[in-house]
């Protein structure tokens, strides 16, 4: 009995992998299975990185009423190839006083850490590399390696700007790791599991045409927003890109990197962004599940990547809109707003769990989140008087 074509299309990569692996002797089958998946992940996400760089540059250009890159290939879409060739042929400079080994290891570790996180992301039905029962925990543990790589880069370069940038990055990443984890706790509470596959499976049902995504609850919506803000800071993207701060500390921790190592940092940063976006999709946006019940015929992996591209587009949009924060604003925002809000969100998720379903539950939970957010933003604004700036010398 063959499955219906829709299911075939959905599982095409899974069956293909099984068939390829089936040609090998039993002894090698399990390892070949893993290697094939790893190669697929590395290829797909590296390609996505290449596409994202050109789309980002074009999008930012359009936001600033420019064309963006439009010279290499049709409409500039071969730009990543030119960039790759450029970074490969550039001289690889290492400062004489740098710690050679650590300086070399930092970008490698960053990319490895970024790729490791994809092991637990279910990019489609039955398409997670491993279904760890502590998948979310694994994700955050691997994500912490990025901080180590960043500090290795900053420290080994023996440059005051790179050290400053690395210290900023560490302070920022550790500060935002707290709200990032706390924002995802609500989902773990609701799903009762740390396994990413189980969390997605929880969200695949439909009421009428509407999906059971966690983002469609008050705590889920708040959690999603808090998670995305923290993820932006975690991946060092604008408006939280002050570890790089081109205009202040000239690229921060990777100031002493050139050529392909710089490209590796770039790659690692984008891979981290995709991975946290992928986790946000897994936790809040139903993973590979279709947004409406009548759209389930579209293969699951397409839904995952459509959602991922949407998240990337939002990241680019935000980057094109907001200016960089100041260090104190960044820290105050993490500890004075994000942390209390995530804790309140955990409480709201608990209330949601124990209240009977209905409109009242919705209203209570929404009020539990909106009122504190409003009061908190008002309270933090107290004592900050906005007035026309007076100049002492430049009048």
């Amino acid at each position: 009995m063959t499955p219906p074509p829709i299911q075939q299309a959905d599982q095409i990569f899974v069956t293909l992998q099984h068939r390829v692996v089936g040609y090998l002797p039993i002894k090698f089958q399990s390892i070949a299975d893993v290697i094939l998946s790893v190669v697929a992940i590395v290829l797909v996400f590296a390609l996505l990185f290449a596409i994202t760089t050109v789309l980002e540059r074009k999008g930012l250009g359009r936001i600033q009423n420019r064309y963006g890159p439009n010279r290499v290939g049709p409409a500039g879409f071969f730009q990543p190839i030119a960039d790759g060739v450029k970074s490969l042929t550039k001289e690889d400079l290492v400062p004489r006083t740098a710690d050679q080994l650590v300086h070399f290891m930092a970008p490698v570790l960053l990319v490895i850490a970024a790729f490791l996180a994809y092991a637990v992301l279910p990019v489609g039905r039955n398409m997670a590399l491993v279904d760890l029962n502590a998948g979310v925990l694994f994700f955050f543990a691997v994500g912490t390696l990025v901080e180590l790589a960043v500090f290795m880069a900053g420290w080994s370069s023996r440059n005051k700007y790179s050290l400053l940038g690395a210290m900023r990055a560490i302070a920022q990443m550790i500060s935002y790791e707290v709200p990032l984890v706390l924002a995802s706790i609500v989902v773990i509470m609701a799903a009762g599991s740390l396994s990413t596959v189980a969390i997605v499976n929880m969200q695949t049902g439909y009421s009428g045409i509407w999906p059971h995504w966690f983002v469609l609850t008050p705590w889920g919506f708040a959690g999603f927003n808090l998670f995305m803000i923290a993820a932006t800071a975690e991946s060092n993207r604008s408006p939280f890109d002050l570890p790089e701060g081109e205009s202040e500390i000239i690229a921060g921790y990777y100031i002493e990197y050139s050529g392909f190592k710089f490209a590796l940092f770039f790659l690692g940063e984008y891979l981290g962004m995709f991975a946290t976006s992928g986790l946000a999709i897994t936790l809040f946006l139903g993973g590979w599940a279709a947004p409406f019940s009548f759209l389930t015929w579209i293969p699951s992996y397409l839904w995952f990547f459509a959602k991922l591209l949407l998240m990337i587009a939002i990241f680019i949009w935000i980057r094109g809109t907001l200016p960089r924060l100041r260090m104190d604003q960044l820290m105050n925002f993490a500890w004075q707003f994000m942390l209390p809000m995530t804790l309140i969100n955990v409480f709201a998720a608990g209330v949601w769990h124990f209240m009977p379903g209905g409109v009242i539950r919705w209203l209570v939970c929404a009020a539990l989140l909106i009122v504190p957010a409003f009061l908190l933003s008002r309270g933090l604004k107290q004592g900050k008087k906005f007035a026309a700036r007076t100049y002492r010398f430049a009048d």
């Binding site: 359009r62 420019r66 064309y67 949009w317 933003s377």
Partner: protein, 226 residues
């Protein structure tokens, strides 16, 4: 989002551009996002937004007063025959960065109007040194050197590629008219007036000569007094 904001703008609810403390949490960010979205979408709709001139394909018209590096003007068809330069060395001496090198000829050669003149056997300008100050043009008594407008001068060799010789520097008077029409017309008018004056003087001298001829020694050949 865009629609809502534009409706709200028309109703006068939001979008007042005075500086004010934002009232709703996150309103400023939403406004900013709407603005960038408007730019993003608008750049696909309205060509007027994309102000960048796509340079190699599109070019802005050059303003007439633009100048870059000097060139040597010649009259007529043949550049060697018509070169106005008589290698008087004034520009070489005046050039502040000393980028001009001239070697004077030992013989004389008729110029465009047939008058025997010295001419430069070598006339080099090193444009890697030239600072486009136009002083050579100001000091030239023969209107022989003028400023060019060509700016696409990239070359594969930074030494010989940027050291321009006489042949490279020679450009026709028509070229001068094309790049600086007003200035070239004025120069041509001045030259024509000068030539007319010289011709009139020569004519007067020729008329006076037969009368005084018996008293004076035979005249030197024409053209050698210069």
């Amino acid at each position: 989002m865009l629609v809502i904001l534009s409706v709200a703008k028309n109703l006068g609810i939001v979008w007042n551009f005075e500086v004010e403390v934002e009232t709703v949490f996150g309103e400023g960010i939403l406004k900013g996002l709407a603005e960038t979205a408007r730019n993003f979408l608008g750049s696909y709709v309205s060509k007027n937004r994309l102000t960048t001139v796509q340079y190699p394909e599109e070019r802005l018209p050059q303003i007439e007063a633009y100048r870059n590096f000097p060139f040597l003007v010649y009259d007529g068809e043949d550049w060697q025959q018509g070169l106005r330069c008589v290698s008087c060395f004034i520009c070489e001496k005046e050039c502040p960065p000393k980028c001009i090198f001239i070697e004077k000829s030992t013989d004389k050669k008729p110029d465009a109007v047939g008058k025997p003149q010295f001419y430069p056997t070598v006339f080099n300008i090193d444009i890697s040194v030239c600072m486009s100050c136009q002083i050579c043009v100001e000091v030239c008594p023969f209107d022989a050197i003028k400023m060019d407008t060509d700016f696409e001068l990239s070359t594969g060799n930074r030494f010989s590629g940027l050291l321009w010789d006489k042949k490279h520097l020679a450009k026709s008077n028509e070229h001068y008219h094309k790049i600086h029409p007003t200035e070239a017309a004025a120069v041509d008018a001045q030259l024509a007036a000068d030539r007319a004056k010289t011709a009139a003087k020569a004519k007067a001298a020729a008329e006076a000569k037969p009368a005084a001829a018996p008293a004076t020694p035979p005249p030197v050949p024409a053209g050698s007094e210069k």
